[in-house]
């Protein structure tokens, strides 16, 4: 028999019995960031493609909620910090090697961008909106003029943001479950899928909804491919990663991951969306909410299980 005990020390609730430093705040922050990135991506892309009118929910309506999502995300991040009054230290330096740092800076870029985008779209959705001050009106016209540039910046930065939500985890070599380059694309895809779902939810236009249902099906297919790929990668790797994957393959997180993330968050919505495309009457809220829920759960489960995975020594 092998017996390994910690004789003393480490009676530290964040570390024992397993690492538990990130609670709900970080996964929520990453979900909101991913969702925001997804919406901004589609808004930017369809603007560049000149489909502003056709897909007005994607381009105009959905982006109005993005500033709120990002602020909520930042609040969640802020709540995670344990030395809160030093928050501003994030913005006294740029640490290229620290995903936390460039995440903070990307948000610093994306958040104002989302405000500007929302500002130039607000009168489209609420026609009686009045900016009152001339400065603001002038600013609005200024940004309107450079909308296309804004759209390009938005597409690029939202991809960075989306990838960042995964890199934040995958940069941690210390947590074998997170230590895979697939988390970046996977979280980006999950963010895009959530964004598409949100657009579907908000859209009143049948053609737009159909388009986003199709997009969503495509993204989910990519996600499933990435997930399978990720587990295959783990299983072909070292014992620590095999053990890490085990958390989802027979371990304590198995049921929640496969039921909530894969079945309810991916397979069921795909089936429902396919059925809807086949003209069955399916209330759109169901697949959309399931996708959002699955995307949220994925972040929670990967955040928690990742902290439980460790090197053996």
């Amino acid at each position: 028999m092998r017996e390994e005990i910690i004789v003393s020390g480490r009676a530290n609730p964040y570390i024992d019995p397993h690492l538990n430093i990130w609670h709900w705040q970080i996964p929520l922050y990453l979900f909101l960031g991913g969702l925001a990135a997804g919406i901004l991506f589609f808004a930017g892309m369809y603007t560049i493609m000149g489909k502003e009118k056709a897909y007005s929910t994607a381009v105009s309506k959905a982006p109005l909620i993005v500033p709120f999502l990002l602020i909520l995300g930042l609040i969640a991040l802020f709540l995670d910090l344990k030395h809160k009054l030093y928050f501003w230290r994030l913005y006294t330096t740029i640490r290229i090697e620290s995903p936390m740092s460039w995440g903070a800076w990307v948000l610093m870029l994306v958040t104002p961008l989302s405000f500007i985008w929302a500002a130039i779209k607000v009168r489209e959705v609420f026609p009686r909106w009045d900016w009152k001050f001339d400065v603001l009106k002038n600013l609005e016209t200024f940004f309107m003029k450079h909308k296309l540039i804004l759209a390009w910046i938005m597409v690029v930065s939202s991809v960075i943001l989306g990838v960042y939500t995964g890199i934040l985890f995958s940069a941690f070599n210390a947590r074998p479950l997170w230590n895979t380059s697939i988390l970046g694309p996977l979280f980006l895809a999950s963010g895009l899928s959530a964004g598409a779902a949100m657009i579907m939810l908000l859209s009143k236009d049948h053609a737009e909804r159909t388009l986003f249902a199709k997009i969503d099906i495509g993204i989910i297919a990519v996600e499933m491919f990435l997930i399978v790929h990720m587990f295959m990668g783990f299983l072909a790797s070292t014992q620590v990663q095999i053990d890490a994957a085990g958390l989802f393959l027979g371990g304590p997180y198995t049921a929640s991951f496969w039921i909530f993330v894969v079945i309810l968050g991916m397979i069921v919505p795909v089936i429902l969306e396919v059925l809807e495309l086949r003209k069955y009457k399916i209330p759109v809220v169901i697949p959309a909410l399931l996708v959002l829920f699955g995307s949220l759960m994925m972040r929670f489960l990967i955040a928690f299980a990742g902290q439980e995975s460790r090197w053996l020594y």
């Binding site: 028999m1 017996e3 004789v7 003393s8 020390g9 009676a11 602020i71 930042l74 609040i75 802020f78 709540l79 809160k84 009054l85 030093y86 928050f87 501003w88 913005y91 006294t92 610093m108 870029l109 104002p112």
Partner: protein, 746 residues
């Protein structure tokens, strides 16, 4: 882009008005110039000398204080032979004893029946008057001899003077009949001298260290652990005889996983091998010993093969380990152990160990047993003590004649009145010993307490024992008081000072003050004629060429040896303090008292089906029950666990970490559940637990209910007929999964 300040404003608003923005800039300015590496430097720290009271090794050290005078840390004094500048974990955690918020804070007087733990707070005057009154009445009615002191710790010196002045000589420490008594008697009957504390063993220079039980590394007696490590460095081999895979066993060249209670057979077989392979120290044996031929004849048939059947240790292993010792001789130590009250034939087991040492020629030799020396410190002059007409010994007229110290358990026995006992105690002062965890057979102990007319307990903490007191006197901790000069023997004679690092917290006081105040009320002030303890200490120090002032600066003063060498010189004529003047392999004392003059092996009872022998010992971070509530040390280890072999666990379906109860052969079930530790380190016929846990005094916020008490399960005592030691390892337990019902509560 938003500036930093704007950004903070935004997030500040976002979290609902947390006032970040207003102060943020100020923060930046004040914090920007603090040291960049995040290290804190302490300035103006001060230090005062002390010696540690967390166990009885008495390491000398320094108490460091922060600028504001608060206690920061305790570290060893480099000049001290007990600590060599390094404290053990318990000593390092000493400040926890001072900071423990559960400490006794003021004198208490009992309001309901004993054991109920209901008290009212009292003033010191009131408490002393109450005690003095009762003491006088006991003296008048029964005689002052009927008053006893049970003590373990420094304050015992002052209460000892008080009790002797009062007219009683019955002063006992549990460190005799519950601890090292059999060892002292065995070595006295063999070498004419005891082992003493610190043990006179030269571990640092040994080439072979043999541990019979002694679990150094878990037993943290500092100097020994340090020297064991030095010996490992120098390539010494360690032989450990222990049924449990102790830490020491894991460092050993030979581990002999002996069947419990069979050590004497192994020791006799070793003696057999040394004699019949003629590898003993012939010259030494010839010159110094008495009774070799009787010994040789006695062990003739006690071959390793014979011992194998008893101990389960393979004959080859017995031979090889004996040769290992012989090769190292005389730099070999059969460690005398310390807590040796195991099975009732303990003096005989220790005799066998002493004999082995003699055969290997280790007594008085480098790497064996050195000749210790201590400072001869005069005590403060006082009138002669009255001669008591009776003592505890009168209760045992034909017994324990070889016990040179008082038996704590003997005092308990003599307190329960029987017609045959010539001395019944009516009053106890209990200082620094938690009797309920210390003396086995709790039922009998409580019966004794119930027969007392006065029980005074002097302690620092609310413990089990304080719950049974009539009056509780709160002593301040060792960090807050002066105490007697430490004069223990060592390689070189030395003294050490303990002085207060800080004023006592709460309304607690030192024992020295309490004893003097009580003496005043009893008309015995002449025995405490010093004005202040500083005056007394200074006077004592001046008799040995130093002063209190100097000692406050150096803490420890070491002197050159005044007589003899540390070891015998070759061919030295030595007169041993035995009847024959020789090392007695054949003990004339034991023969005269009617005991086996040479040890014999007698089998002991084995656990019945479904029961396991209750083995217990130390954990490095705790001392008995006294540290069980220490915040620093409970942080290292908060409860004990019961060690169970995986095979046994499987039979019972016990999983690692599961809580369960233990019940002993007399149907006594542990008050609290204890965590199972399923481990290969314990045999399948025993379980092991660390002594000192399972406290039932609710006032101990950390210790109450943490772990289980081995003491309450030790209801059967195997008394050593030679000296009255209380053998405690003949108890058997089984597993239960429910707490006891009313019927078994005791």
């Amino acid at each position: 882009m938003a500036s930093r300040r704007d950004f903070i404003k935004i997030s500040g608003l976002g979290i609902g008005g947390l006032a970040v923005s207003a102060s943020a800039y100020g923060f930046y300015k004040t914090l920007a110039d603090t040291p960049p590496d995040g290290t804190k430097l302490k300035i103006n720290v001060t230090r005062t000398p002390t010696y540690c009271e967390i166990c009885f090794w008495k390491c000398a050290g320094w108490v460091y204080k922060n600028e504001d005078g608060s206690i920061w840390k305790v570290v060893g004094n480099d000049e001290d032979q007990h600590s060599n500048g390094r404290f053990c974990p318990r000593g390092t955690g000493g400040p926890g004893m001072y900071y423990d918020e559960d400490r006794l804070k003021t004198p208490l007087i009992r309001t309901e029946e004993r054991g109920k733990q209901s008290f009212r707070e009292a003033s010191w005057d009131e408490a002393f008057d109450y005690i003095a009154d009762k003491m006088k009445r006991i003296a008048e009615e029964y005689g002052p001899e009927c008053f006893a002191l049970l003590t373990h710790g420094s304050g015992g010196d002052y209460f000892g003077t008080l009790i002797k002045a009062f007219g009683s000589s019955s002063i006992a420490a549990p460190s005799y009949a519950q601890c090292r008594g059999p060892r002292e008697v065995a070595f006295q009957t063999t070498f004419g001298e005891g082992v003493g504390s610190p043990e006179r063993i030269d571990i640092r220079d040994t080439r072979c260290l043999v541990l019979i039980g002694s679990h150094l590394g878990e037993n943290m007696h500092n100097g020994q652990v340090q020297e064991m490590s030095d010996a490992i460095d120098k390539g010494a081999s360690i032989i450990t005889v222990d049924p449990r895979f102790s830490i020491a066993a894991s460092k050993s060249k030979f581990w002999l996983p002996i069947k419990p209670a069979t050590d004497i057979a192994l020791l006799l077989a070793w003696i057999h091998v040394l004699i019949y392979e003629e590898s003993y120290d012939k010259e030494y044996v010839e010159k110094y010993t008495f009774g070799f031929e009787q010994l040789k004849a006695h062990v003739k048939n006690m071959t390793p093969e014979w011992a194998y059947g008893i101990t389960t240790i393979k004959p080859e292993l017995i031979r090889e380990s004996a040769r290992e010792m012989a090769n190292a001789s005389p730099s070999v130590i059969i460690h005398p152990g310390r807590h040796v009250t195991w099975y009732g034939d303990d003096t005989q087991r220790l005799r066998a160990m002493a004999i082995l040492n003699a055969l290997l020629g280790s007594w008085g030799r480098r790497g064996g047993y050195y000749v210790p020396e201590k400072v001869d410190l005069p005590s403060w002059p006082h009138p002669p003590f009255p001669t008591p007409s009776r003592s505890w010994k009168d209760a045992f007229p034909d017994q324990f004649n070889l016990a040179y110290e008082t038996l704590a358990s003997g005092i308990c026995d003599a307190t329960v009145p029987t017609l045959s006992k010539a001395c019944n105690f009516k009053g106890w002062i209990v200082n620094g010993t938690n009797l309920l965890k210390t003396i086995p057979d709790r039922r009998k102990l409580i019966e004794a307490i119930q027969n007392l007319e006065l029980m005074v307990v002097v302690d620092t903490m609310p413990m089990e024992v304080t719950g049974w007191a009539d009056v509780v006197l709160p002593e301040c901790t060792y960090l807050e008081r002066y105490d007697s000069v430490r004069v223990s023997p060592h390689r070189k004679p030395a003294v050490a000072l303990r002085m207060p690092a800080t004023e006592p917290l709460y309304n607690s006081k030192p024992a020295s003050w309490m004893a003097k105040e009580l003496a005043k009320r009893l008309g015995l002030e002449d025995y405490f004629s010093w004005n202040s303890i500083e005056e007394m200490l200074d006077w004592q120090f001046k008799q040995i060429g130093t002063s209190l002032e100097e000692m406050k600066k150096i803490g420890v003063k070491t002197y050159e040896r005044s007589y003899d060498d540390l070891y015998f010189y070759p061919g030295q004529d030595v007169e041993f303090f035995t009847n024959t003047g020789k090392i007695e392999l054949y003990s004339t004392d034991l023969a005269n008292e009617g005991f086996d003059p040479i040890p014999v092996y007698t089998p002991h009872e084995e656990p019945p089906e479904g029961y396991y022998r209750l083995n217990y010992g130390r954990a490095p971070m705790h001392t008995f029950s006294r540290t069980a509530n220490n915040p620093n040390l409970t942080d290292l280890m908060g409860e004990n666990a019961v060690w169970i072999n995986p095979k046994v666990a499987k039979i019972w379906g016990i999983t690692n970490g599961q809580y369960l109860y233990l019940e002993n052969q007399d149907g006594i079930r542990s008050t609290f559940p204890v965590k199972a530790r399923v481990t290969e380190r314990i045999r399948w016929d025993s379980v092991f637990m660390v002594h000192g846990f399972g406290h039932d005094n609710k006032k101990l916020s950390r210790a109450h209910g943490s772990g289980a008490s081995d003491s309450e399960l030790i209801s059967r005592v195997h008394m050593d007929p030679i000296m009255g030691g209380t053998g405690m390892r003949g108890n058997f337990v089984t597993f239960k999964f429910e707490p006891a019902g009313e019927e078994v509560a005791s």
